[in-house]
């Protein structure tokens, strides 16, 4: 608490206000002080605390702040900022407290604004404008031969040398900061150039089977630079040769497995199987889906079918829907007494659960099955309303 000193509320030369906060209470270490409900101003050089009733403020030089921590608030306490401070200099003007055990103070934000103030404070601390200002003003000081702050020497030849060195450093920093953005751009461009070279070479080798990973990376770079995607890919309907070729490949590879699975296979299973078959150069789910969507156009032996509920499956072209329905009804009749759930049908017919569910729903739409919703779940019965004579 002894780092604070009384001063008037005006700003010194080169001082700019960064942010303000209201309703701040000062803590000496962990103890509350009587300095509460004040207005806190952060400038690029100092922290100023002032109560409305007073004209003079308490000032704290930012150069003394070694570390800032944030203490989030709880039910009973408000968020606080903990400032760990260095030893004050001898030339500091008088403050409210001459000595204090604690090397840290706390600022209590009763009305919030703690995090934004913290950010502003961090910025001010990294900028360290007071260093630059002292560097600029020291050359005039050395004539009066005043004892300087801290241990660094600002007077004499050493002082002048130090000043020149500091100025050089500053200029370097400025230049490098200005060109930082360009450096990032150059890095990105280097990657992009390498990728575009690889893609063009691959394209020359063989048409169609370009790895999707490279192109997606390329696209993501383009997007991050804000360039519109020049290679318009499919959405619905139109597709590149890539997808047509892919559709052919999938159809050839999976025609038999789909037939063995009863003529219907979930899209997720198709994705797994085709990637397993390929081994290397895996396909993205999006590519598999797009390829399946163009299957019908290119007259493959299997094509994509979307159910009402949104589930997508790949079906053999010659699939007999009637037979599927009959199988479902037969299975239902075996479960006449207790009803059949999707899980039961899946177990009975060796189908994936999602597919079993779809079959039951389809049977319901065709009035072959009726549903029974209860706390025990959804079960289906054969449609006795139609088949049995009502009394």
């Amino acid at each position: 608490m002894d780092r604070w000193y009384w001063c008037d509320s005006s700003l010194t030369f080169g001082e700019i206000v960064a942010s303000t906060a209201k309703s701040i209470r000062l803590y000496d270490g962990d103890k509350k002080t009587t300095f509460e409900d004040g207005h806190l101003t952060l400038t690029n050089l100092r922290l100023l605390w002032r109560h409305e009733s007073q004209s003079s403020s308490l000032g704290l030089h930012l150069g003394l702040v070694a570390l800032v921590e944030e203490e989030p608030g709880g039910f009973t306490s408000s968020p606080k900022l903990i400032l760990h401070l260095a030893m004050p200099s001898h030339t500091q003007p008088a403050g409210p407290v001459t000595t204090s055990h604690n090397s840290h103070i706390k600022l209590c934000f009763k009305q919030g604004g703690c995090s934004s103030f913290h950010q502003g404070l961090q910025k001010a601390l990294t900028d360290q404008e007071w260093e630059k200002l002292t560097v600029q003003t020291t050359p005039t000081n050395h004539q009066t031969n005043k004892r300087p702050q801290g241990k660094t020497i600002h007077t004499g030849i050493l002082g002048i040398e130090r000043a020149i060195q500091a100025k050089q450093q500053q200029t370097n920093q400025n230049i490098s900061r200005a060109f930082e953005d360009l450096k990032n751009l150059m890095d990105l461009a280097k990657d992009m150039v390498a990728i575009s070279k690889s893609i063009s070479s691959k394209m020359k080798e063989r048409s169609g089977e370009v790895s999707a990973d490279d192109t997606t990376q390329f696209r993501s770079y383009l997007l991050s630079l804000g360039i519109d995607d020049p290679v318009t890919r499919e959405t619905h309907g139109s597709a590149t040769t890539y997808h047509h070729n892919l559709a052919r490949e999938i159809a050839n590879a999976l025609e038999t497995p789909v037939k063995e699975a009863g003529g219907v296979m979930l899209l997720s299973e198709v994705y797994c199987r085709i990637n397993r078959a390929r081994g290397l150069q895996l396909l993205s789910p999006e590519d598999v889906m797009n390829a399946c969507q163009v299957m019908k156009q290119s007259n493959q032996s299997i094509h994509l079918h979307t159910f009402e509920s949104g589930v997508q499956v790949v079906q053999s072209v010659g699939l007999d829907q009637e037979k599927v329905m009959k199988d479902t009804v037969e299975a239902l009749q075996r479960y006449e007494t207790l009803g059949m759930s999707a899980g039961d049908l899946a177990r009975e017919c060796g189908l994936p659960l999602l597919l079993a569910q779809e079959r039951l729903l389809q049977a319901e739409t065709c009035a072959e099955a009726v549903r029974d919703e209860s706390s025990q779940g959804l079960r289906f019965y054969p449609n006795l309303f139609f088949t049995r004579d009502a009394q």
Partner: protein
């Protein structure tokens, strides 16, 4: 009094779930309507309260632990109202009078009897109709007085009868 004979649907769990398939639902509602009316007739239930309906024996079967949910009950009651078997007491549709035979049907039956016994263009008292000897074999014999009046009013609207007041008695002229 024999126990009410529950129809086979009453033990069929899907009966208690409102079917989404339109055709199936129609058949389901037909079954529900005849069940509710048959049960009401047997147990002499003349009124239905929507809030208490979920606990009514006709809408639940604890032996298969199924009960028609509230929205299902409402659909059934609306269907009954559409067929003329339920008459709401107020606009909020919380209570209704249940007629196992709709008022219209009663009116038609009475008019048929009037035609068969050549009472057209004559006047009858209401007593004669529901309690007289001549109607002993008819279904509407012993019909509740209020319902009889409603039935005759329905005939009046159809232009087949005219209600009259003779002081103590009430009468009707068939046209």
């Amino acid at each position: 009094m024999t126990e009410f004979e529950w129809p086979w649907q009453y033990s069929f769990p899907p009966f208690f779930t409102l079917q989404p398939n339109v055709d199936v639902r129609k058949t389901q509602l037909d079954a529900w309507c005849s069940l509710v009316l048959g049960w009401a007739r047997k147990n002499n239930v003349g009124q239905i309260d929507v809030t208490g309906a979920t606990s009514m024996a006709v809408f639940r079967n604890d032996s298969i632990s199924r009960a028609l949910p509230a929205d299902g009950i409402r659909v059934v009651l609306d269907e009954l109202a559409k067929r003329g078997n339920l008459e709401w007491t107020d606009k909020t549709k919380r209570r209704g009078y249940l007629f196992w035979r709709s008022v219209r049907e009663w009116g038609q039956q009475i008019y048929q009897w009037a035609q068969d016994t050549s009472r057209i263009n004559t006047v009858c008292t209401l007593f004669e109709i529901n309690q007289g000897d001549e109607t002993a074999g008819q279904e509407f014999h012993g019909l509740d007085g209020d319902i009889l009046i409603k039935a005759l009013k329905a005939l009046e609207v159809a232009g087949k009868a005219e209600l009259m007041d003779f002081g103590d008695n009430q009468g009707v002229k068939f046209l």
